[in-house]
């Protein structure tokens, strides 16, 4: 079993996480200004998370995302927890990204608030308790 015990748990964690990001002024204003949208394709449990300036969608694709990111939920947990470094994750193909690299380079630093907040969100949701 992975660190997420159910799809419901993963959905709750990622919805909260990206909701917090959208409350971050820098993230929200840049995403809106650059018309950025990103869709995470997670596995184990399988779910997609679509984020744009207009909100967060689970298993829905309101329009074609500018950036697509594929990773397992376990790797997502390791990434947001800081145990898996982005350059290593990319080079080992634990995370794969499609879309303009220039946009990705612009986008990734905006995610900092998610790294800061994820451990407490995950702990509160009991992530890893069943692993």
């Amino acid at each position: 079993m992975g660190v997420f015990t159910s799809k419901q748990q993963a959905t709750s964690v990622f919805t909260t996480l990206f909701g917090i990001l959208l409350d971050d002024e820098r993230f929200a204003s840049t995403v809106r200004k650059e018309n950025l949208s990103v869709q995470f394709f997670h596995s184990d449990p399988d779910l997609t998370v679509y984020v744009s300036a207009d909100g967060v969608w689970i298993d829905e694709t309101p329009s074609a995302p500018v950036i697509s990111i594929k990773m397992s939920c376990d790797n997502a947990d390791a990434l947001w927890s800081g145990r898996l470094l982005m350059p290593i994750a990319l080079a080992t193909r634990k995370i794969r990204i499609k879309g303009s690299v220039a946009k990705v380079i612009e986008f990734v630093p905006l995610l900092q608030p998610a790294f800061d907040r994820y451990p407490s969100i995950a702990a509160q949701a009991g992530v890893g308790a069943g692993a």
């Binding site: 982005m86 350059p87 290593i88 080079a91 193909r93 499609k98 690299v101 380079i105 612009e106 630093p109």
Partner: protein
């Protein structure tokens, strides 16, 4: 089992061509082409014949003013925000005149790449604006060592690497000891991305990338290599004797160096393929000019069927090389991690045809092709150079076959 998706994707119709370049890239190409023809070309012979340690900062400054030192730096830091596609197109233009000058800027981008790839906003904010001031600033990437070449490039070889530069953590900083060899721009760069192996890890299995300002105490530079060609850019030994580097200068974490290096290579190979394509194009254009005006048997050489056949084959090779590097650059701009197959194939092909085209062009010019006065022999020397750096044909063949047999999914 061979993975068919690797062979099928992407189709030729997906690949951009020079006729579909974005307007911004076309403008960049035309600007660099005009500068290379008008300003760089008159100095090529001097740059080639100068002492090995000579370096033309005035011409580099002109290139800097065009944006060549900050092509890939994001616009928010004052750069041009170009991707691999724009870089490759610009480097072809420079290499059609002088491959060494293309490499000065290419090596700087290689030194910038780990900082860009890190996704670390603090590293980016500290180092990328350096390249966007009034004066030119160059960077270098220090990986190759005396005993360790391919062993630092091929992850499976890392355990066998011998005598690799060492890094040791001491409190809030690291201490680096060791030497690097053949480092392009080492003598003229402001910082280097340096790869060293963490103490306690065998071979290069703990390879870690550091950003090192080259004015740090303990950094010394050796003699400039006296090269066969590419003489306008300088390759140097670099020595690190108890060099202290703050922990915030680590890129990608301890042990992340092998992977960063692989990423860099996959991105850089499209650019080097563009340099080889530029060398081949330069030779082709010179041969076309010669065959159009040289009269033998009562008609220009180009009217002789045998010469026409040669020119046509050379032209086809240059076009094919360009299409391959554009495909690789396009994918490198739209996939992270950068693909391994397309850049390796592009470089493998471009390096080979550059030698073939320059050799044929020299033959067409006869004795004149062999004389320094006409510059063709330099093009042949340039063509031979690119076959060595950023992956020999043997290393590229391993990358290509690894990708062919890879059973990754199609995301």
């Amino acid at each position: 089992m061979m993975h068919m998706a690797q062979l099928a994707a992407p189709s030729a119709t997906d690949a951009p061509t020079l006729t579909t370049l974005p307007a911004e890239t076309l403008a960049l190409r035309d600007t660099v082409r005009a500068w290379a023809n008008e300003r760089l070309a008159p100095h090529v012979r001097r740059l080639d014949e100068d002492d090995a340690a000579a370096f033309d900062w005035d011409l580099v400054r002109e290139g800097h003013n065009l944006g060549l030192t900050r092509l890939v730096v994001p616009k928010q830091f004052g750069g041009l925000g170009q991707g691999e596609f724009g870089v490759a197109v610009a480097l072809e233009e420079l290499a059609a005149i002088d491959a060494g000058f293309a490499l000065i800027f290419g090596a700087t981008m290689l030194g910038q790449a780990p900082v860009l790839l890190s996704g670390d906003p603090r590293l980016q904010a500290r180092f990328l604006p350096l390249f966007c001031g009034d004066e030119p600033v160059l960077a270098c990437n220090a990986i190759t060592e005396d005993q360790a070449g391919c062993d630092l490039l091929i992850p499976e070889n890392a355990q066998f690497a011998q005598g690799v530069m060492r890094a040791r953590r001491e409190g809030d900083h690291y201490v680096l000891d060791g030497s690097k060899k053949f480092i392009t721009n080492g003598k003229v760069a402001t910082y280097a991305t340096v790869f060293a192996n963490m103490e306690g890890h065998p071979g290069a299995t703990g390879l870690t990338c550091f950003v090192v300002m080259l004015d740090r105490p303990g950094v010394t530079l050796g003699d400039v290599a006296d090269k066969m060609s590419y003489r306008s850019c300088l390759g140097t030994e670099m020595h690190f004797d108890h060099v202290i580097v703050p922990e915030e200068n680590v890129v990608g974490g301890e042990g992340g160096g092998v992977y960063i290096n692989v990423q860099q290579m996959n991105m850089a190979r499209a650019a080097v393929a563009a340099i080889s394509t530029g060398v081949a194009r330069g030779a082709l254009e010179q041969a076309i000019e010669w065959a159009g005006k040289r009269v033998q048997g009562g008609m220009p050489l180009r009217k002789h069927q045998f010469t026409a056949r040669k020119l046509a084959e050379m032209s086809a090779k240059v076009d094919a090389a360009r299409m391959l590097y554009l495909r690789a650059a396009h994918l490198a701009d739209n996939e992270i991690p950068a693909p391994a197959y397309e850049p390796a194939v592009a470089k493998l092909f471009a390096d080979r045809i550059a030698i073939e085209v320059a050799t044929e062009a020299m033959g067409l010019m006869g004795a004149r092709g062999y004389l320094r006065d006409h510059g063709m022999e330099k093009r042949l020397r340039d063509a031979l150079g690119a076959r060595i750096y950023e992956g020999t044909p043997e290393v590229l063949a391993l990358a290509v076959t690894e990708a062919i047999y890879d059973d990754d999914d199609d995301f």
